[in-house]
Assembly symmetry: C2
Homo-oligomer: 336 residues x 2
């Protein structure tokens, strides 16, 4: 260890760089070490350190799709909470594809300090069987021992159904995501259930990846048929897909919201500037990231991951729930 030279010690340096000097190192030596560290520009080698400690200072974030701006906000929240002490490693898969346990297991060889898993499927968790501290995000409807931070996505879906019924719609189509994660099942089923209660007919119009282009294509193919059957609104599982529908509707000369209402989930920043503005279920992504980061920190400290100051969400068992809300814009509401 280079720094050992500059001072007059050996393992003492380790105590100092790890802040474990409490009653174990003289103030004198602390000063010497600190000076040497500064002079040499020494940075503790993460590899050696991690190997000795048994775990790295990496936190792995597993998510189906970083290309979604929604997810960027989740990342920002996580970073804000854990950024000081841990490096964030993203396990990314291609747009909309669910990560495979094998992909993640390779990363587990890095001995991460913790795991953050966004929008997991039950199968994924079962196969992964990770032993490191883990917090789930947007995992509504998933049974697991790990604490989780979820949205009340079902509540948002119900608000959406109520809004459409109130606007006089009687038959709507639902465009699902192919991702196959629970969050999308919950969106769809909660919407359908509430719609049923309100005598609002719901027709499944298939599923696409979370992508403007494929949603546009899907809509283009389905619209003549849907239109003929009296469908007056398309509810999309994500805002991104809704953009595709808006785009294609414009090409096809379908007036929005006059002839067709369109909605999404997520409330991405672009939903305010789209043409027209998109009515959508707002999900507090950054807040979710923050809380999940905080719980993970807790868990890694040996806590239960539950003391996370509960930022306005409700709590039930290991699951923290964040409220969602409905943002009504021009895509469902005519007039200025």
């Amino acid at each position: 260890m280079v720094a050992a030279r500059a001072g007059v010690s050996a393992a003492t340096v380790s105590l100092v760089t790890n802040g474990k000097t409490a009653g174990r190192v003289s103030t004198e030596n602390i000063a010497k070490v600190e000076q040497a560290v500064a002079e040499l520009g020494y940075v503790v080698d993460g590899l050696g350190s991690s190997l000795a400690k048994g775990r790295s200072n990496i936190v792995i974030l597993v998510a189906p799709d970083v290309s979604n701006p929604f997810f960027a906000n989740v990342i920002a929240g996580v970073r804000q909470e854990i950024g000081k002490d841990f490096a964030l490693l993203l396990s990314v898969t291609d747009a909309g594809r669910t990560p495979e346990p094998a992909d993640v297991r390779r990363l587990l060889a890095l001995r991460p300090a913790g795991l953050l898993i966004d929008a997991p499927s039950a199968r994924f968790l079962a196969e992964l069987r990770a032993t490191e501290p883990t917090v789930l995000l947007d995992a509504a409807g998933i049974a697991s021992d790990s604490p989780s931070v979820n949205f009340d996505i079902a509540g948002g879906a119900r608000l959406l159904a109520a809004h459409l019924a109130e606007q006089g719609h009687r038959n709507v189509a639902y465009l699902d995501s192919t991702t196959g994660t629970e969050t999308f099942r919950v969106r769809r089923e909660a919407f359908a259930a509430e719609a049923g209660r309100l005598s609002l007919g719901v027709e499944e119009m298939g599923a696409t990846t979370i992508d403007v282009g494929t949603a546009a294509t899907e809509f283009a193919g389905a619209w003549p048929e849907l239109s003929a059957r009296g469908i007056t609104a398309v509810v999309c599982a994500t805002d991104t897909q809704a953009y595709g529908v808006l785009q294609e509707a414009r090409v096809a000369g379908v007036e929005i919201p006059g002839s067709l209402a369109v909605t999404g989930f997520d409330d991405l920043p672009y939903s305010e500037t789209s043409n027209p503005g998109l009515t959508t279920v707002h999900l507090p992504a950054r807040e979710m990231g923050r809380l999940a980061g905080r719980r993970l920190l807790d868990l890694m400290d040996g806590g239960a991951g539950l003391s996370a100051g509960n930022g306005g969400g409700g709590e039930s068992g290991g699951a923290l729930m964040l409220e969602s809300s409905l943002v009504v814009r021009g895509s469902t509401l005519a007039g200025p």
Copy 2:
């Protein structure tokens, strides 16, 4: 080493898991080891392995802003190229803030196999002085020993100026980014130079972070004044900022493109669905990511980072240049 038991060897396992068996391990033993590995579900510990080898299998991607969807495409391209063998660690900073060398240096303790640095500033590179294989992305105008993959962003800026002049504009405003990276200087200066040649007046209207909201606010404050001075177009350094201008213009009742034309840079997916569609300089993000990944692979193999099959770009020294193009949409072009 657990696997050692199952077979009848010790370091032989290492040779097998590293695929270095060429004339050094009997087929018999290879089979034994492989079976043991399979049975125990053994995965080589990355920490021990990396420490022994002197470097990890992590590639660090440094970027000013992952929340920009543009960047998601860059990531996708990088992953496609290096995903098999390396883990991608993102060094992320908060929206639009340039990463500090100190942030990255902490990650360097992980002994990354390579570095990918997007939109760097000269100061950043000078202070970082990283010794690991490095490839720069979108680093037009930066002098460095590292190979780079750039866009011909100046060319795109010139096309944009020409288009606006052709549409009859005589005075335009330029909304810059506060990020302070070279790519934004190039966008601004190339545009201004070509505008000058075409007798198109350019007025700087300040700079904001790359964010819909702050750009909207900036525009709201500046518009009365700009309008009074005969400005008929706002050129934004990024599409994201242009969305903010579009949004605020709608609120203020400014007709687009009738009373005001708006443009951006990047060609994000949302620029096709915005209201109206956004005229913008298209930058091939995914392709840039792919090529940069390929060059880094090369560099890590001891090559010069230059053999990367040059996908349509031009080459000059260590810099590979990708073409950009102008996509004209409704925000500058009246009529159906």
